[in-house]
Each structure stands twice: as C-alpha cells, then as structure tokens.
C-alpha cells in the first residue's frame, strides 16, 4: 500500500496554528505512507493537479488530504483522485482546520493533534476498499410541499421544464402569505394582482397536480424513488361538484367562524371560500364552528347547494404519490401576540400585527380596504408601528432578524398616509434594515415624502388611556423618553418557523436549526440543497425571506430538480451495508433495527438463511452493523475494521 498524504496550509488558516511542514515530515516516517507533502491551497486547481501528478509519479494507491472538513471538500477530492484513476473511496480527509487549527490556541498541541488526526486517517484509508456505485432508475416526478409563492414558483418552473409536479398545500387555497398582502415593497404594486396569475397558472398547468387542504402524512424511499402518503383533509364539500358559487357561504347561519385567512381580523362563515381569488375556488366547512357539527343540526348549506356537493360524512383520505425529488417550501409562521404582555399581549383590540394590518389595508379584506380600529371601527389618525416585536430578542429565544419587517413597515406607513391623508405614523425601530435594490430609497420616502416619524428605540410599554393607547418608548438618539398617544398600534411580530415544521423535517429526514428553520447543505454554496439527497428547500422555510428571495429560491430549487432529473439513471451511494454470507448466522437482528426496511431474509443454496441488503433502500446509517453480533453485516466505508483502525491508531496503551 502506498498512501499519499497532502497537508493543506489553507493560506494561514491552518498553517498559522499548525506546523504543517513538521506534520508532513512526521507522516513521511509512517510505514505505508509513500509520500507526504504540504501545500498552500490543496483545493485549488494547482493543488488538485499536484495530487493527480503525485498519484502517477509516486505510484500512490490511497490518498489522505489533511485540510478542512470533509463536509466541505470530500467530494472535491474524491473527484480529483478519481480523475487520476483511483477509486474515489480511496480518499480520507483529516479535518485539521475546523477541528484543530481554528479551535486550538497552542501551536505545539495543535501540531501533535494534527499529526495524530492525519495518522488516524492514514490508518483508516489503509483499510478502505474500492466501492462502486450501481445505477438505478429515477421517477421524474417532483413533490412540492407548500403552495406559497416559493412553492408555486418551483412547481411552475418544474412543470414548464416538463416534469410532473405534485403540489401539496396545507390550507384550502394556494397563495400563502403573499396572497394576504395588500401591496408589495418597494414598488407598491398590488400583491394579489401579480400573484393571482401565477395561482391561475398553477391551477391550469397540465403538469401540476394540486392537493389543497392536504398534508404530508409519511415519506418513504430515497432520492429518485420516494413514496409519499398525502392526507387529504375532509372539507365536507365534494370539490368535484363544488363550483365555487359562494351561495352556501352567503346563507350559512354560523357567522362567527375564525377567519384563518384574515388572521381573525373579522369573523367568517363556517362554510367559506377563503378569499375571492382562491385557487382552487372551493368551499370548505370548518367543523369547529359549523352547527351541523357542533349542534348536530342545521344542514342549510346542504339544502342550498345547487350541485349537492355538501357531504357531512366526509373523512380524511390518504393518497399515495410516487416522486423522485421533493421541494420543501412550507413557509413561515409568526410569533403569538401573547408573548408581549407589555404590549397588551392580545388584550387590546387596537394592537394588531403587521399581517392583520395588511388585511385591513386590502381592498378585498374584511373592511374592503378601509383602515379602521378593530375596537370601534373608527378611522385611526395616529398609527404607531413597532418593529422587532420579538425579533432580535434573545429573551424570547429569537436572536435573529425577521428580515422583511423594516420594509413592510415603511410600506404600511406610506399606505396609511395614502388611505388617511391626515394621519400621522410613528415607527419605533432598532435599526433600519434595507439592503435590497431600491429598498433604502423606499424607507427614506416613507420618512421624507410621507412624513412617517421614525423613532430609534424600543417600545417598553403600551397602555390604554381612554380610547387611545399610550405607547411608551425611548428615543435612543435623543436620549429621551417618548410617549405617543396612538389610535392603532401595529406590531411587526417576529417570523418563526411554520407550525409543524419540525414534524415535517422528521418525515423528510432533513435537519432544522434551533428555531425550526430547515438547514441547507451549505450556507453559501448549497443554499437550496439539504443533506438528504433529493430534498430541496425554497422560501422562508429555510429562514425569513422576502418575496423576491423566495421566488428566486423557488426557481433555484426547480433548477436543481431539473438538473437531477436530466439523467435517466442515478448512481447509488455505494457506502451501504454489505452482508458476509459466510459469517452471517441469519439471526436477522439487523432486520429488526434497520430504520429503512432495507434488510431482507435470503435463503442460500443449501438452505442457510442470511440477511441481504436492498442497496438502493439502505441509507448507510450503520445501525445494522452495530446490531450484528457476528460482524457479518458491515457498513461499507465505515466498517468495524475501519473504525477500529482509527481507534487503534490513537489508543495504544
């Protein structure tokens, strides 16, 4: 065996705190290491060329690259050595940057740690076996989860690219948050006017199959071959018959249903079509409020429906779809008002959230675009906007910025002036975040052209005083206490992960951060991929984003799916479990523990029962290997002997 070791300086990132030359010299002493060198930037093209040349020149058959995290560049170097004729699994990386040079202060200790870490990699690589992928067919259908603007964009782009798309939306209509907005910044164009056509496109696209009011029940399989179970929630209205005429909604006697679409700004009927532009434009009964369900009698809608679409007996239905890739665009949520007792915590009707204010501004909203106070339906003259309601507040567990509040507050201040010319807006802000194209100009316009008064400081308290609300805050620029008597207070509540985001992530086997936002493969270079092959991210599910960014990510995810599907066959990851049929005793404990059902029973000639791995289903976790008492099932590339080689390299009494 002739191992080549390449130790990267990573500029001064590694070489600054690790003596790379000494490490190379030490490694040269190791039996089996035929070549060891240090190099400025191993991942650079000349660096990779050096590896390729050394493989040829020095007749190397195994390579260790000591550099950054394998999560960063393992694939890069695997390709490098493959180009030089070695099997890609003859590569090991020693992570001497993230785990050593960046975290240790003592150069001597770092250097020793690096040498040992590289030796562990050498010990392991000497145990590595060549592995070969096999190819398998892919199902060129894509599942898009979430029918907001990001999801729709992804669905449309995939559909236009010729793929069959299954679009699953939790609520009764597609459109998401954007459908609720009145105007969009910084252009002040009508939100639904630009979104509506997209929604119609989705409905009419012959490649897109829409499941509205549906949720993901279960996902099995792997990239190229997922089996998705979708729960179609009972609407109690047969949508094949419903024409969306709205008669039922008109006649429904139950008038105090919570209006999810309008965030409860005003009540709706127990049977309703969420908004005029809804896609699909179908009615749905809310059994929590419908008298037929709560009181057991009513039946008005059933009587009145011209097509006889009402079905009180309807049950949830599970349908199965097979797809090859998944785009997750499940959107975001908002923090509850009750997290802000100092702002009234939902007790003062005239303290509302930004999205509720959007609905008040909107011509198709409950007030038909008239701004009125929820308490007394009078027009407010003084409106206070509170930014960062929850955002950047560690005490609430939300240290991050919600990204787009600064911009929509400016927009809402402008629109307030448009609607009520004699009104005065105050904006309490911490910082104005307006880095987008035309954004900063927009916030200036709100102040300069529309007279919104921006006060830099936090609002400490809001309390009612007669019909007014006193907003108490600090002006940190002037260093004074400020009190504004407001008619209406709008809180820019913090953006959170969508409700149920964690459960969905578990079904998808993707990771999410502390806040419930999905984690991308790489924050810069792989922003729409996840660590689960075949699952992509779009929109605010990954983190708070505004419309252009969400749309951009939707398209990006679609491009990733199209690229993935540009091949007819996919290559399987060969780092899967393998059974040694000579030593397997057929106890099948591995079958009990495999999380993926990837292990089958197999009868050999002569009747011996052994375990057998379905390679494409095996995800490579290795639970079977640590279950198998006789070491007969080994996860390739992480076999017992490979890990023992690493242990033995550092544990020698």
């Amino acid at each position: 065996m002739r191992v080549g070791v390449f130790i990267c300086h990573c500029g001064s990132n590694i070489a600054g705190t690790v003596d790379v030359a000494r490490a190379a010299a030490e490694l040269r002493k190791v039996p089996g290491v035929a070549f060891a060198t240090n190099y400025m930037y191993t991942c650079s093209e000349p660096g990779q060329d050096e590896i390729k040349q050394a493989i040829k020149r020095e007749n190397l058959d195994r390579i260790v690259v000591a550099a950054c995290s394998p999560r960063m560049h393992e694939l890069t170097f695997r390709r490098t050595i493959e180009k030089a004729g070695l099997n890609r699994y003859f590569l090991e990386m020693a992570n001497i940057r993230e785990h050593i040079s960046w975290v240790g202060l003592d150069k001597e200790a770092n250097t020793i740690k690096a040498i040992e870490t590289i030796k562990m990699a050498v010990a392991k690589v000497m145990q590595n076996k060549p592995l070969y992928s096999s190819s398998f067919k892919i199902n060129k259908r894509v599942l898009v989860i979430g029918g907001g603007v990001a999801g729709m964009q992804a669905a449309l782009d995939c559909g236009d690219g010729g793929l069959e798309v299954v679009l699953v939306e939790k609520s009764p209509s597609v459109g998401g948050m954007m459908a609720r907005l009145d105007k969009t910044f910084p252009t002040i164009d009508c939100s639904i006017c630009i979104l509506g056509p997209k929604m119609v496109d989705v409905a009419q696209h012959d490649k897109i199959k829409l499941y509205a009011y549906s949720e993901i029940e279960d996902i099995k399989g792997y990239v190229g071959n997922y089996e998705v179970k979708i729960r179609k929630k009972a609407t109690y209205v047969d949508w094949t018959k419903c024409t969306g005429c709205g008669l039922c909604m008109e006649k429904c006697p139950s008038k105090n249903s919570y209006d999810y679409f309008n965030f409860g700004v005003a009540p709706t009927k127990a049977i309703n079509i969420p908004f005029p532009q809804a896609i699909p434009k179908k009615a749905k009964i809310d059994p929590d409020f419908c008298r037929q369900f709560t009181k057991g009698k009513c039946g008005v809608c059933a009587k009145i429906c011209p097509t006889g679409a009402i079905n009180y007996e309807m049950q949830d239905e599970i349908v199965t779809e097979e797809v090859g890739a998944i785009v997750v665009a499940s959107g975001y949520g908002l923090i509850d008002m009750d997290k802000f007792p100092e702002y009234g915590g939902g007790r003062y009707p005239d303290v509302i959230t930004g999205i509720q204010y959007e609905r008040l501004l909107n011509a198709s909203g409950p007030t038909e675009g008239h701004i009125v106070r929820p308490s007394d339906h009078t027009e407010p003259k003084t409106v206070v906007f509170v930014s960062c309601a929850g955002s950047r507040d560690k005490s609430l567990g939300i240290p991050y910025c919600s990204n787009f509040c600064c911009m929509y507050i400016a927009k809402q201040a402008i629109l307030t002036k448009d609607h009520i010319p004699d009104s005065q807006s105050y904006v309490f802000y911490m910082d104005i975040r307006s880095p987008g194209k035309g954004y900063d100009e927009f916030t200036r316009r709100a102040q300069e052209d529309y007279g919104a008064k921006y006060v830099r400081g936090r609002v400490s308290r809001i309390y009612p005083k007669g019909k007014k609300l006193v907003v108490v805050g600090a002006d940190t620029l002037l260093g004074t206490q400020v009190e504004v008597e407001a008619d209406l207070v709008v809180l820019a509540t913090a953006v959170t992960a969508a409700p149920g985001a964690a459960q969905l992530a578990e079904k998808l086997h993707i990771s999410y951060d502390t806040f419930g936002f999905y984690v991308e493969s790489h924050p810069k270079l792989r922003p729409v991929e996840t660590n689960t092959s075949g699952v992509f991210l779009a929109g605010a599910a990954q983190g708070p984003k505004d419309i252009p960014a969400s749309v951009g990510q939707g398209s990006a995810a679609a491009a990733k799916v199209l690229a993935l599907f540009s091949k007819d066959m996919l290559e399987s990851d060969p780092a899967v479990a393998k059974v040694n049929e000579n030593t397997c005793v057929g106890c099948l404990k591995c079958k009990l523990t495999c999380p993926f059902g990837a292990i089958q029973e197999k009868e050999l000639r002569g009747g011996k029962i052994v375990a057998s791995v379905i390679e494409t289903v095996c995800a490579g976790c290795g639970v079977c290997t640590s279950t198998c008492p006789c070491g007969a099932i080994q996860l390739s590339h992480f076999t017992d002997n490979q890990l023992l080689a690493e242990v033995n390299a550092i544990c020698q009494k």
């Binding site: 995290s69 394998p70 999560r71 960063m72 992570n95 940057r97 993230e98 785990h99 050593i100 960046w102 975290v103 240790g104 202060l105 003592d106 001597e108 200790a109 770092n110 020793i112 740690k113 040498i115 040992e116 870490t117 030796k119 562990m120 964690a502 992530a505 578990e506 086997h509 990771s511 999410y512 951060d513 502390t514 984690v519 660590n531 689960t532 780092a575 523990t593 999380p595 993926f596 995800a619 490579g620 976790c621 290795g622 639970v623 290997t625 640590s626 279950t627 996860l635 992480f638 017992d640 890990l643 023992l644 690493e646 242990v647 033995n648 390299a649 550092i650 544990c651 020698q652 009494k653």
Partner: protein, 143 residues
C-alpha cells in the same frame, strides 16, 4: 502513538456526520476555542457506534470517550440515535460495575448549528477527564 503532550489526556470522540461533526465544524468556523485533547472519529450516525468501540478505546488507552449524535427526533436516519441512546445508556451504567468511572464516558446530542454547545461540551468533558486523571497507570502496559 507517542506524541501525546505531557499535559494532555487521551479523549476519543465519535461524532455523527450530520449533526455533531457539523456542530464541531460550526464551532471551528466560529473560532470557538477548545482544549486540544480530543481526537475525533467521524461516523455516519450515532447508531453506528457499537458500545464496544467505547469499551475498546477505554481498555486500550483512552482516558475518556465522548459520543455525540443528532438530537432525538432529528436523526438524519430517523431512528439511529434512538438505538444509540439505549445502547450507550446501558454501557454507561455497566462501566462503574467494571470499576471504570462512568464520568469517563459521556454521550450527548449536538446539532450542526450548535457550535457553542459543542465548545462547551468539549471544554467541560475535557475538564472532567483531567479531574479524574489518567485511566491507565503504567503497570497496565503489560503483555
């Protein structure tokens, strides 16, 4: 290997690729300084960590072993860490029966985003092992 610095003890870490190894990377990217004793072995999943690896390390010269995986429910392979939790808990309870302080073995859950938690864990565990001192006295290096 002979290069263990005089002040260092031998600590072996088994980290799952998707969460904890990533968490250690995150700590690195954030330059969260840590003691240097730990040597990291990357495994795909904490469920891959046969408790015997821990035993092997402890019997053969390690002074402490740390296993870290994804938080329960967040396993990249959905259930791997659930199995790990049972097996490692069993081992943790067995070690003192053999006369090995169970403080020498720690298993925990650290996600890819928890760089700071990783730093804290490494620092605290290393301190703990130093408090216990070396597991193997010289006389044990017998044949």
């Amino acid at each position: 290997m002979s290069e263990v610095g005089p002040k260092e003890l031998r600590i072996v870490g088994f980290l799952c690729n998707w969460c904890s190894y990533g968490g250690a990377d995150t700590a690195g990217v954030s330059r969260f300084k840590q003691p240097t004793d730990l040597r990291i072995i990357r495994v795909p999943c904490s469920g891959r960590v046969d408790p015997l690896f821990v035993v092997k390390a402890l019997l053969n010269g390690a002074d402490g072993v740390l296993v870290s995986g994804c938080h329960p429910r967040d396993c990249h392979y959905s259930d791997g860490n659930f199995y790990a939790r049972r097996r490692l808990e069993m081992l943790k309870r067995l070690l003192p029966f053999l006369g090995i302080d169970d403080k020498r073995f720690h298993y925990t859950w650290i996600s890819a985003s928890e760089g700071q938690r990783w730093q804290q864990t490494v620092t605290d565990f290393t301190k703990q092992i130093h408090k216990l001192g070396p597991l193997h006295s010289g006389k044990e290096a017998q044949q």
